[in-house]
Symmetry: C2
Subunit: 309 residues, 2 copies
Amino acid sequence: MMDMKIPRSVTIREVCPRDGFQSVKEFIPTEDKVKFIDTLAETGVSIMEVTSFVSPKAIPQMADAAEVMQEFNKKWKGKVESVVLIPNLRGAENALKTDPDWINFVLSASEAHNKANTRRTVEKSLEELRRVAAIKGDTKLCVSVATAFECPFDGAVDPEVVIKVLDAIFEIGVQGVTLADTIGTADPFEVTRTLSMVRGKYGDYPFYLHLHDTHGMAMVNTMAALHLGFNCFDSAAGGLGGCPFAPGAAGNAATEDLVNCLERMGVNTGVDLLKTISAARNMESYGLHVMSHLAASSIGRKDSSCCQG
Amino acid sequence: MMDMKIPRSVTIREVCPRDGFQSVKEFIPTEDKVKFIDTLAETGVSIMEVTSFVSPKAIPQMADAAEVMQEFNKKWKGKVESVVLIPNLRGAENALKTDPDWINFVLSASEAHNKANTRRTVEKSLEELRRVAAIKGDTKLCVSVATAFECPFDGAVDPEVVIKVLDAIFEIGVQGVTLADTIGTADPFEVTRTLSMVRGKYGDYPFYLHLHDTHGMAMVNTMAALHLGFNCFDSAAGGLGGCPFAPGAAGNAATEDLVNCLERMGVNTGVDLLKTISAARNMESYGLHVMSHLAASSIGRKDSSCCQG
């Protein structure tokens, strides 16, 4: 029987402005980005990944990172914690100029994905992380461990490999760690196996989980993590993000679907469901590829009607 | 921690031709329906809900039920068990002429939904069920208990009410019972609560679960049921069904998403994943509103490519 004891509250880190927007090909004008971010900040989330300081050649959508952060800080500094993604030392240097609460360094547990994503070995990424840690000052440093469960090139990732990478990260010293199912193909048993080992090794360290919904398993994997006591999750309003090359290919766990399920189970998220749905629909009407169930549902619609199937 | 002991095999009852097609407004020509049904029968499912014998005024899409069954029997009789939905005695009479393996009578646990759906009290529906049981002959009789967890009018349905209805059904005598989250709004804890009571009362009776995905919880609810040992599930290829008045509003649990998740966890479904994906894509290319993750994914596509998010 499913254990009904899960955490009574969770922290949701809204990643739509980074992971969601980066998957949108057409440039979203900075003014519009800032408006979307405002609607997301108003949902009650306590922490948000606002942008990323990456090469504008690699991801043109994020070319306005500094401006977006400037606007964010004007309104939300001290109210909603900001996270910015950085792929390397240079990204960290640029990011730190904009006074984020967190910088989020990405490396992969699997060598093949780390090489594809960063053109480095994991060892070299860890060296870069050490350099980032040395210059970060008072800014908090998170490390996102991509392919913590499944790698698009190597398949299932050995939990021992994940533990080895985590050991190295903790030895360098960071303020947060994220475990990511980057391609969204892990199943609940894989997630349970790896996270059980992680719990065994690091106790109740507040890892974030970043679970993509590519194959519709984000929610079952979230449940698996909750049953092990994990209580920090990334999600994106509207389910934006990931690999939207085909209709229906959901990206991230959708914040509104996650909030709805959790709040129904009595888990406090601190996030206003209707405001999140409204923010997602707002992005949808703008033309973004919103894929959440709740945004498409009748909730909050004046003209709602439903057949009985 | 999530119990990793779940059934090693499950039965999947493919309901796309009934629950999926009935939600399609434009009439699908009989010839096309039969072709889609053939592709679904070829996936390896052992049982399929093929059509329903309802008033053609109420659901014009099902006006060709007798012809569809005739074609089904020609090819699949003895290979794939057929189920046809019936709302009443008259439907049963019409259905029985077409030699189905199962007739599937629908009533609701909640009075309000039963009235809306069948214009009868639950008591009157049970009387009608008794009349159906009296004429069914050798054909197997299943009862689908709609709103077994949540009612669109009455909210959460008291498990005691469900037990009371089940007692009455078993007293009449049937060969199968389905418990349906008709509107797809139940959460895993609700499902666990009701199903625990059902298990306590009826032991390991092989109930089917019919879990809609309206709010993206079909898979977590399936997991909750699996953890209690339930191992018979309805699903629809492509996630067709339910209430598709808005893009993204998924209907049923999608067969391919369910099969993928279960098989990854080592649960045998007997269903060929690639054939199911192919069947769903085939319906999508025809214009049907396919909403599954796997149909939209890169699996089985020659031109597959994926960004690293």
